[in-house]
Symmetry: C2
Subunit: 332 residues, 2 copies
């Protein structure tokens, strides 16, 4: 009797991780990371992903039951179509990604937004498996996913969980999504970096200036955290401001959903307590419908692996409706 295996893909702006696992444990029987090279276009990227899956299943000597690809953008999960990927090079609008991968691999394919995949990975394999949560992915964009009453919330297109696109500054700056004043527009990596550049230029960030040798193009949230550690008080305050904006968005989600567990992942979550402490402060102040002291805010203990493990597990789950799986083959 063969065990069942599933492939997960975490499509990223720079790198794409592909792995095979059983969907019920964190053990991977095979895995490989490839350069995304989005500039070659979706067809090329998807062909290399399919080839990598083929190589991995051959190397591991297993067959796979299904594939799930986590996508850094918006998909229509029922149609298996990528709608919009703001941070991926190439034209990823209306791409029939599930059909293309299915044709190339013969396996049924599901798409899922990458933050929703991370939420599901954390739900299944994080430090409190089976417990409801709000997942927030913080980096170039601010993504999210929510697990309520033991189920990943999907909603229309699988788009539920977009914590970063709540309006919290009604007359705010434009967001990449087309709205104004979203959480993402004031708390993402680019928003924080922009404030770092401003402080650098007006001479309020001497340590940052030294760290980047005066090059504004080299400012990143990580460098800003280093500058804050070195003593740049205004940079420290800028990080706190961005974190508090994020905290407002998270507090809103906690209030609306009645969920008491918040987990962060993504590049900016490496800022650790500089990010987490102000978020907790906002929650204490703004959550009034149940004891805010019961709300936990922590970094994911499975970190960047949450998305990939979540994709494998999502390929294996039977909870989801049939219609979210794109296949030309008959499913058993």
């Amino acid at each position: 009797m063969l065990r069942a295996y599933y492939a997960g893909v975490d499509l990223g702006g720079t790198k794409t991780a592909v792995a095979i696992g059983d969907g019920h444990s964190t053990t991977l029987v095979a895995n490989r990371t490839i350069e995304t090279q989005g500039e070659r276009g979706p067809d090329d990227v998807l062909a290399r992903i399919a080839a990598t899956i083929d190589t991995l299943r051959r190397d591991a000597g297993v067959s796979i039951e299904a594939i799930c690809m986590g996508v850094p953008g918006l998909c229509d999960i029922e149609q298996g179509r990528v709608l919009f990927c703001p941070n991926l090079t190439g034209y990823w609008r209306g791409i029939e990604a599930a059909a293309i991968l299915n044709a190339a691999t013969g396996a049924p394919v599901r798409l899922l937004n990458d933050a929703r995949a991370a939420a599901f990975g954390e739900f299944r394999f994080g430090d409190r498996p089976g417990s409801d949560l709000i997942m927030v992915t913080v980096g170039t964009g601010i993504g999210g996913g929510v697990v309520l009453d033991g189920r990943l919330r999907l909603g229309r297109f699988g788009a539920a969980g977009e914590i970063g696109h709540q309006t919290i500054v009604p007359n705010g700056v434009p967001c990449g999504c087309g709205n104004h004043g979203c959480v993402e527009s004031v708390a993402s990596g680019p928003a924080l970096t922009a404030e770092g550049v401003r402080l650098l230029r007006i001479g309020l960030a001497p340590h940052l200036h030294e760290l980047v040798s005066g090059d504004a193009g080299a400012v990143t949230p990580t460098r800003m955290a280093q500058a804050a550690d070195a003593g740049d008080r205004e940079i420290e305050a800028a990080i706190t401001r961005a974190a508090r904006w994020l905290g407002v968005g998270i507090a809103n989600a906690v209030t609306l959903l009645g969920v008491e567990r918040v987990v962060l992942t993504g590049g900016m979550s490496a800022l650790g307590e500089r990010l987490l402490a102000p978020i907790r402060t906002e929650i204490q102040h703004r959550v009034r419908m149940f004891p805010p002291s019961d709300v936990t805010v922590a970094r994911s203990t499975i970190g960047e692996g949450a998305g990939l493990l979540g994709a494998i597990a999502w390929a294996a789950t039977t909870e989801v409706k049939e219609k979210t799986t794109w296949t030309t083959t008959t499913q058993t």
Copy 2:
């Protein structure tokens, strides 16, 4: 074989509705509305509610399986305890309402926030039964409830769905809940009325002045709508501003939950299109994760009855965990 009947209570600031039904239809076998008279205190109010239930079941010649009371405030639904009722006279903090009603009636008792009861009533008996929705109750406070994947979302204490307590103005005015800048603080009846009073006092609302004979204490959202109809442009603009704030909060909930159906009830929903049109405008502008044109915003077709019908249906539902029902009797 006897049919099963259930009692529903809609506890209100001024009046309290009590009714008996089968929980599966909108037919009531008995119903009565009593004066709440909160100033007499919770024990007295609950005793009169219990007596009313007794009278109704005797008059109708039925026994009841369970009771559900919709509460205009915060409860701990697991403990059957009322925690806080801002708009109810009397000291309603830490009141063991489920135990008190159970002792007086002998029936198992569930508590539920009144907006959540309205959401459940709309879900079961509204114009699209069984379809997910975001319910928003707009009046002195702004409450809410959400049905996701066919289930009323409860969360901790049954507090999920509090659309009115999302922060949308981070440095905003104080809200009754203890936070600042909540949707409720800028879009509720009192917030709109306050702006009406200001416009009255500075001479920008001549028709309103005439309607209330110059008495600021007589200004209400309904009077303001009449003044707008009569030609008070600034009053019309004030209603639009409040409605747009509400629209920001609703758009955030739509984005976070991926729900495409919004239903409004409560006193201020009588403003009709003056309230609904600006909400739709905000949704069109701010919902970017799926087609905002698919989001419907409408008044409840069962109106004020949603809460009472929802309470009866909630008493009858078996979906909810046992522990949310307070009883000293053995349940079958």
